[in-house]
Amino acid sequence: MKLEGWFVEAFGQFQRYEVRGLTGGLTVIAGPNESGKSTLLAFLRGVLFGFPDRRSREPQYSPAGGGPAGGRVFLDGPEGLCTVERWAGRRHSLRVTLSGGQEAAAADLARWLGGADETLFRNVFAFSLAELQTLQTLQVDEVRDRIYSAHVTGAGQSARGAVRQLEAEMTALLRPRGASRIGELAQRVAQLEEICRDARAHAAEYPKLLETEAALRDEARAASQELEEAAQEARWYGALLELWPLWQERERARQAPAPPSSADGLREALAALAGQQRALEQELARTRAAAAALEDPERAAVLERLAEADQLAARLPLYEEQRRQLADWRTKEAACAEQVARVLERLGPEWSEPRVAAFDPPPDWIDQARAWAASLAADWRDIQERRANWERAAAERERLEQALAQETPAPHAADREVLVNLQGKLAALAAEERAAEALRAAAPIEGQTPGPPRWALGLVVVAVFALVGVGGWLSTVSAAAGGFVILLALALLAAFFVKSTATQRAESAGEDAALAAAEQRMAALKSALAEEGARAGLAPGFTLEDVEDRLREALGQEEAPLRRQLLEATLADAREHEQAQKDAYEAAEAAFAEHRQGWVFWRQQSELPESLTPENAGVLLADLQLAHSLVRARQEAAARVAQLEKDVLAWEQSLRAWGEPAGTDPDGREALAAWRQRIAEAQRQESRREELLLAAAALERRLEDTRQEAARLELAAARDAGADADAVRAFEERQADLLARLTGLGDRAAVDAALSAGDPAVWEQRARAAAETAERLRARRDDAIGRLRLTEERRQQLEESGEVAVCESQLAFARAELARATRQWLVASLAAGLITETLAEYTRTRQPEVLREASAAFARITDGMYLRVAQDEDGPSLVVEDCRGRWWKPEQLSRGAAEQLFLALRFGLATEFARHGVPLPVVMDDVLVNFDPERARATAAEIARFARSTEPERQVLFFTCHPETVRLLEEAYPGARRIELARAAALAAS
């Protein structure tokens, strides 16, 4: 996809400004400041992706000539030429028109742009210096997602945006806390389950209701029956009571003896009765006399002691047992006293027996005291340990402070790049010097005749003198011949010298020229070295070793802030750690003091002696507990002994009281036996007397009967027979009436039988009781019937109720809704997982490719100074490796180098985007301004290379105001198209 051109209707300073015919490859748009380069970049972004909102902080570029801002951009894409038109401040103003005139959708435009959005386009494809200068613009999620998930056809939202939407949906459905759809539905289900359980339980009551109903019916029936019986009984006794006076009358009438048939008969009968009376009176007198004879006033006193004697006799075995127990308890008391004495001795003089007796430590005090001891001991150990930690932390802090004090910055800081240059120049100087030395070695020494060596000429002179000497000694013809030969040899030697010197002079002239040139270069190098060395703060005459030392120093110095920073950070941590340890120690001491105070409080509350320590408290309390129990045991034994002594003594005293009369019976047992015999005799006598009195009473009754009989006979003699008959009839009529009126009374015989055993008081009582029972039974019957009605109603309600069905239906509905919501959540979770995993894989697999591209570009731009760009293992940032294998973070690079790195990264990202999607045009706004000439040249070459890296060539638009940049770009990309912008270009261009 390429930008074929644009038509700025109005935007900033531009007015009806058109450029067309743009193609692939590099286009340089050059113009001075204020010629509108940034405006044009903003226009391109605005038309393609939308103009910034008026509320935005972005420049608005309102048209200088007024009117709406906007225009058209012409794209050359897979669908052919299309026009994108958009206007600022108008919603839905986007219009995309194909070359045939038909309109396309916004989605089509998005697809042609490879799914790139405004953020991606701004940060990667159309950037100014401002965007270039930070890595952050490349690390926003939208950029990462779009790069690594490039070319999402249809241009849906970013993958991360989709995940965010899914997560929002999931949160709305389910929140760990707070309201959510699933939570509400789950609560509804829970409520309905509870309601259904209750409803089912109600329904399951049905068989019970049936049983209850039957039972209540039986109960009502039984109560009715019993009620009837009670009423019958009441009626029965009522009838008896009603008949009773008549019955008595009748009985009197019926039982009245027949009157004696004659006066004689009456007299005889009365005489007989008088005889009987006399006999009875005599008998009665005799009996009374016998009874009186048996009366003894002392017997009562004897009999009064009967109970006492029996009691004493009964207590005899107990007395024996008590005596035995007394001996045992005395032994126990002695043993306890001995043990108490031993324990008290162990406890010391401050613990007396009464104090121990009054002091009863609860059983858990020992555990509490031991716990106090353990806790305080632990606190103490904790204090020791924390103190040691604090001391160690202080020592570490001191060590770091010393190390930091030694970490002082070097007095002269030299720029590393200058030193590297010096290093190179020194190396060059050394090489030059070596070359010059070689030349000098080859040339003759100044003032010396060229020819054989001096030692050869000397040798010739010595030889001449030797020959002259030898010739004088010989003085012969042969000496003349020899001299000739010698002179000839000398002549030849001289000729050789002359020739050799001439040749050497010719060669020496060429070498001198080379030497002079070398020396000139060396002088230039030395001058440059002196100048740069002085600038780098090096002393005159510095050597390569000095430079390397300074370079090492510089490198070290570059690292020094890092080291210092690290040390400072570590020291800060150490101080914090020391403070924390100190705080911990102080906290431990405070805790110990608090615990100690707690112990003292506990001890005081427990009223324990001040001498008690947590360590000995357990033992002391155990002894105190033992002592207390022993004292209590001893006291108990003493009490038992006292009680037994008292009981034994009391019995013995009682016994002795019986024994006193005998005088010879020390413990009174024999006297007791004698008394018991006396009592038995008294009992017999008294019994006899009572029998006689009873017999006298019977005789009195018989005597009275006889007298009554006599009176009756006398009365009967005067009776009216007619009245008796009336009484009988009245009773029988009333009886018949009752029997007829009251059912259940039985027959006449039963009534007669009941009346004959007559006891009206009992009848009255029973009649009253029967009436009460009937009343009670009536209430019971009515209650049973009432409850029966309620149970029947409840049963009918249950039979007619749809309660269970309704709530189960609601429950099923709620469960269905919950299942749907849960499924929706699960699907969203799976979808989010799918997108996230795919995104992670994309980032993992595609990022290395981007970094590889960026590494190569960065290495070329920096001429091998930096070789590799990689992901920082410790974070989301990047690191770069220099030619010496050292790693640098972007913020540690110089400004220029950092911008070169970010530019290289954009080349990598754009390449990666194009690899999986659409090769979009890249628009740069004067991004080389901070580069030195060499890097600027190398970058221009890289831009050219980037433009040529695709087939057909990638479109690169470069905006610049620097002629030098134009020159560099055109040099790197011969044939680059150039568009000149002038100040106020818009006005001119219209």
């Binding site: 999402v152 249809g154 849906g156 939407q165 089912r200 049905y206 269970v804 239906s809 919950l818 894989e841």
Partner: protein, 423 residues
């Protein structure tokens, strides 16, 4: 002597519709009463067709609790049949095992409930002629892994039809199946002339020699596929020697139907609503006289799919459909609107694109190809549900097909990532 008998099963009396949500009270009441109405229809059919006897093959009630209303309604139905001299034979199934509480203190004389523990036989006679012997056994518990069919044996020399009444899963894998798993061969060897089975909710004739029949449930009552369509009982024509034919007779008063609506060519949501209503009208004509519980399923590809993805849009459409069909007589209730539609996007084309979405689809396909990993992945995705404080009330997700979930998730992801660009 010719006679006919009625065979039904899985009445699930007075039980709610499962998986149906959001119905207003009047609709809920109609749905709730549907199973009882089906029983009334069954009774009326038996009386009308003068059947010799009625066989009920288990799951009369939906749970061991046995709703009171259900029991009383059933007893009244049995009493009505008893009034016509029609005996009723019943076995209990997994949903209503023997031993549940009974609202009845004394069973009507024409009701014979076969006990659990052993197969018992009951004769059916008319005018001194033995028409049939019914053999049956009830479930003692809700899970019976024993093959109860093996306990049945034809009594030799006894005239009349021999009918096995059993609640069982025929043809199911025996291992772990808790519904008396058996095979057709197991049934055949018992020597019955007719197997009156229960358990499956769909009418199925498994065999004609011997007759082996599932009548299905008389009233569909849930969201599961087996509950949809016509539901009823079986009327069998027979002589004492053989069953001559069986006839499925619908008894349902509310029929669960699916309205499949394609979205192709639909311009907008209004158009889609019109199309859905048209389909519902067509279904009403097809199932004249019956109440309908309709689940609308959107299928196909179309531009309106995107619109359906707008949050709340599907719910709005569903509510609109319910409003449009409210007050219909007989009842029409649109239970759900299931969106199985797709965007215009061609999934296969996306898979070939080599971009993010194709990688996403590839990842999805990889998961689909490994059921074990897919199960794990689904479990991981649902971890927050498993650890939620509401977990006790959440549905059993193990019943959900992980593959279906994956496909839904895949569609959801595609829908989100394949959107219209903002203008």
């Amino acid at each position: 002597m010719r006679f006919r008998f009625l065979h039904a099963s899985d009445l699930h009396l007075d039980s709610p519709f499962e998986g149906i949500g959001g119905a207003p009270p009047d609709v809920a009441a109609r749905l709730r009463d549907a199973s009882l109405e089906a029983l009334d229809r069954l009774t009326a059919l038996a009386l009308d067709r003068q059947v010799a006897f009625v066989l009920l093959a288990g799951d009369l009630y939906d749970g061991p609790e046995r709703g009171l209303r259900a029991q009383l309604r059933f007893l009244r139905a049995v009493e009505r049949l008893g009034g016509a001299g029609i005996p009723v034979f019943v076995v209990h199934g997994n949903h209503d095992p023997a031993g549940g509480w009974s609202a009845c203190r004394a069973l009507p004389p024409n009701l014979r409930i076969f006990p659990a523990g052993k197969v018992e036989a009951a004769p059916v006679e008319r005018d001194g002629t033995r028409l049939a012997t019914v053999y049956g056994i009830s479930y003692a518990a809700s899970a019976i892994t024993e093959n109860l069919a093996l306990r049945f044996a034809r009594a030799e020399g006894v005239p009349g039809l021999h009918i096995g009444l059993l609640h069982a899963a025929v043809g199911a894998q025996a291992e772990g199946n808790p519904y008396s798993p058996c095979t057709l061969a197991d049934l055949a060897q018992a020597g019955m002339d007719y197997w009156a089975l229960g358990h499956a909710h769909e009418y199925r004739v498994l065999s004609e020699a011997p007759w082996t029949v599932y009548p299905g449930t008389p009233q569909g009552r849930g969201a599961r596929p087996g509950e949809w369509g016509a539901k009823g009982c079986v009327l069998a024509e027979a002589t004492p020697e053989r069953v001559e034919s069986v006839e499925f007779t619908p008894l349902d008063s509310i029929r669960l139907v699916e309205a499949q609506v394609g979205i192709e060519g639909v311009q907008d949501v209004a158009g889609l609503s019109r199309r859905m209503l048209g389909e519902i009208r067509r279904l009403r004509e097809t199932h004249e006289g019956l109440g309908l519980l309709v689940r609308v399923s959107l299928t196909g590809r179309g531009g309106v799919h995107r619109e359906l993805q707008t949050p709340g849009r599907r719910e709005d459409l569903l509510e609109d459909l319910r409003d449009q069909t409210a007050g219909s007589a007989p009842l029409i209730w649109v239970d759900d609107l299931v969106d199985d539609s797709r965007a215009l996007l061609d999934r296969d084309a996306v898979a070939r694109r080599g971009d993010f979405l194709s990688d996403l689809l590839r990842r999805s396909e990889d998961l689909a190809a490994e059921p074990g990993r897919l199960r794990e992945r689904t479990a991981e995705a649902g971890l927050a549900l498993s650890t939620s404080r509401y977990r006790a009330w959440l549905p059993d997700r193990s019943a959900w097909d992980p593959l279906a979930l994956l496909r839904e998730a895949e569609r959801r992801a595609l829908d989100l990532l394949e959107g219209d660009a903002a203008s």
